[in-house]
């Protein structure tokens, strides 16, 4: 029977206090928009706000685009590195770690300077171009997590055998990737996708410096002008993050495992 050591309980309870207090207080704050009574008005104000819906949908769509682009960039690279080009692994891994070292604000500063109207590749000149730039920026932000998720997924299946089997049956490389490898690492791909979404949905710095109407920019705007609605937004964001991370845990239970052990 595990009773737990007293010091462990103490550490756990203190930690739980630090992490729970802000959440409880934020809920309480969001509910007390009316004097002397609890109401959900702060939540309904936010949820029925047209700007909330527009900016959330906008960020969601950019997030989905970033996921698709991210998977198409990362998965083939990770596959070939694992299958035939192990010598490239250190370089690829180093590149995927760059977003953790180079601050996002430096990256976006570079983008604005490098891909502006006077440059060879003009992305900031039009709304569509800036949306594309924002998508790539989010792919870069999520790159470390996407790569790790895909690489872990590839480790749990027998890439070599699957590829050889598909090859013998006459499949070409794209067929192998899309019909054999991807379905087998779908759980890993989806984990990377949900993680990307959690990182991207409320992102502020890049979206605001590129002047895009993203959810993070909307939240900042509400924070500067309202008292109780920001608390409601914080709770909504927390729930969204929780759902995204919960999906990853749920998916992990369905992960197929064909790797030889």
């Amino acid at each position: 029977m595990r009773r737990g050591k007293p010091w462990a309980w103490l550490v756990f309870v203190l930690g739980a206090l630090y992490f729970m207090l802000p959440l409880v207080a934020t809920i309480q704050f969001a509910l007390s928009i009316r004097r002397g009574t609890y109401s959900l008005d702060a939540f309904t104000n936010v949820l029925y706000d047209a700007h909330f819906q527009e900016s959330f949908v906008y960020s969601f769509i950019i997030g989905l685009c970033a996921i698709v682009v991210g998977v198409l960039i990362v998965a083939p690279a990770a596959y070939f590195v694992r299958l035939r080009l192990p010598r490239l692994r250190p370089i690829i891994e180093f590149l995927t770690l760059l977003p953790l070292v180079i601050p996002a604000i430096v990256l976006v500063f570079g983008y604005i300077r490098l891909y502006n109207t006077s440059s060879f590749i003009n992305l900031t000149g039009s709304a569509l171009g800036t949306d594309i730039l924002l998508t790539f920026a989010y792919v870069a932000l999520a790159l470390p997590y996407m790569y790790r998720a895909v690489d872990t997924g590839l480790r749990t299946i027998d890439v070599q055998t699957l590829t050889e089997a598909a090859n013998i049956l006459g499949a070409n490389t794209p067929t192998i990737l899309f019909k054999v490898i991807f379905p087998n690492i779908i759980v890993a791909l989806l984990s990377g996708a949900f993680l990307t979404l959690a990182i991207v949905i409320g992102e502020f710095t890049i979206a605001s410096l590129l002047n895009r109407p993203a959810f993070g920019v909307y939240m900042q705007n509400v924070g500067a002008n309202r008292a109780y609605e920001p608390a409601a937004l914080a709770i909504i964001s927390f729930i969204f993050t929780w759902v995204a991370m919960g999906m990853i845990q749920l998916l992990a239970r369905f992960a197929p495992k064909t790797a030889p052990s």
Binding site: G15, F29, P76, R84, F109, I132, A198, L209, G223, F238
Partner: protein, 309 residues
């Protein structure tokens, strides 16, 4: 124009000359497939991770007329910018240190404290969520809690007659920002350090105990030295994590707290320093500091690994 979005598809259809080529096409076909599979990644990385910082490096050494200059680097020495860097480094170091130590203790308590099994599952899930709960909403949560009108602030004042703002705490300064950053630094530590703690075999502590070692001796001579490289890696990651953070501080204070990311933000937004070259120099210095933290980690890790062998 956008090779990273188009090439995986077009490239993929090009790589598939199944019926043609025969013995001539075999080897080059393999190579081509590999190249086209990895190329989008490399091109993307060069365009969006490598080139932008390097372009800024060039900009940092260029004056408004396009000539080479060291003036931007010299201008980094002005008091406003030096103090912004200094406060950023202090907040990042403090939140990384507190985050790593507290996170380590929580992870140790959960894994080796004989707590019920469900606690570990809950802590892991929550850490995943909280480590991603940053930016604007995190600032909102802390304003609602310990802001001037926050629930906890008022509760402490009315019930316990403790005015935290009178006793020196202020959410909108160094102490407040450090407290907030810990909200994602601690869970991040728990996620990063858990595999390493799982790697500490029970037999080691049992062996130490059999040999008459006290728990603190086990930790000072075995536990911490084994965890050390991981802890340092965590520390440098946490430092870079806090050092580059913008949104939380921005939502909290507008631009009233003088940290370097907010200086750079104001510069990019509206040329606040009235010198784009100086902005680039700040960016260059930020990358240098974040990279320096990681180089220290790499050096210590190689030494630690040599020592562990």
């Amino acid at each position: 124009m956008f090779p990273s979005s188009n090439e995986p598809l077009t490239g993929a259809t090009n790589v598939a000359p199944v019926g043609r080529g025969g013995w001539i096409g075999r080897l080059p076909r393999l190579r081509l497939g590999e190249v086209l599979g990895v190329a989008p990644f490399i091109i993307f990385a060069v365009m969006f991770l490598v080139l932008p910082p390097f372009y800024l490096f060039g900009l940092a050494f260029t004056d408004k007329a396009g000539q080479f200059t060291l003036q931007n680097i010299v201008d980094l020495g002005q008091p406003l910018i030096v103090s912004a860097f200094w406060i950023s480094i202090l907040i990042s170091a403090a939140s990384a240190l507190i985050g790593a130590v507290v996170g380590l203790f929580i992870a140790l308590a959960v894994i080796r404290g004989n707590l019920p099994g469900w606690i570990r599952a809950v802590v892991t899930t929550f850490s995943g969520v909280a480590s991603n709960f940053a930016g604007i909403p995190l600032a909102f949560a802390f304003i609602s809690t310990v802001g001037r009108l926050g629930i906890l602030t008022i509760l402490l004042r009315t019930v316990f007659h403790i005015d935290i703002y009178r006793s020196g705490f202020n959410l909108f300064t160094f102490s407040g920002l450090t407290l907030i950053y810990c909200y994602f630094q601690i869970p991040l530590t728990i996620l990063l350090i858990t595999p390493a703690i799982d790697g500490l075999k029970r037999e080691w502590s049992e062996a130490a105990e059999t040999l008459g070692a006290k728990p603190w001796q086990f930790w000072t001579y075995v536990g911490i030295p084994v965890l050390w490289p991981n802890l340092l890696g965590t520390l440098s990651l946490l430092f870079a994590n806090a050092f580059g953070a913008v949104a939380t501080a921005y939502a909290l204070t507008g631009t009233s707290i003088n940290i370097i990311t907010l200086q750079l933000y104001a510069q990019i937004r509206g040329d606040a320093l009235q010198n784009p070259g100086l902005g680039a120099a700040i960016a260059l210095a930020m990358v240098a500091i974040a990279a320096f933290a990681n180089v220290i980690y790499l050096i210590v890790r190689t030494r630690a690994e040599r020592w562990l062998k």
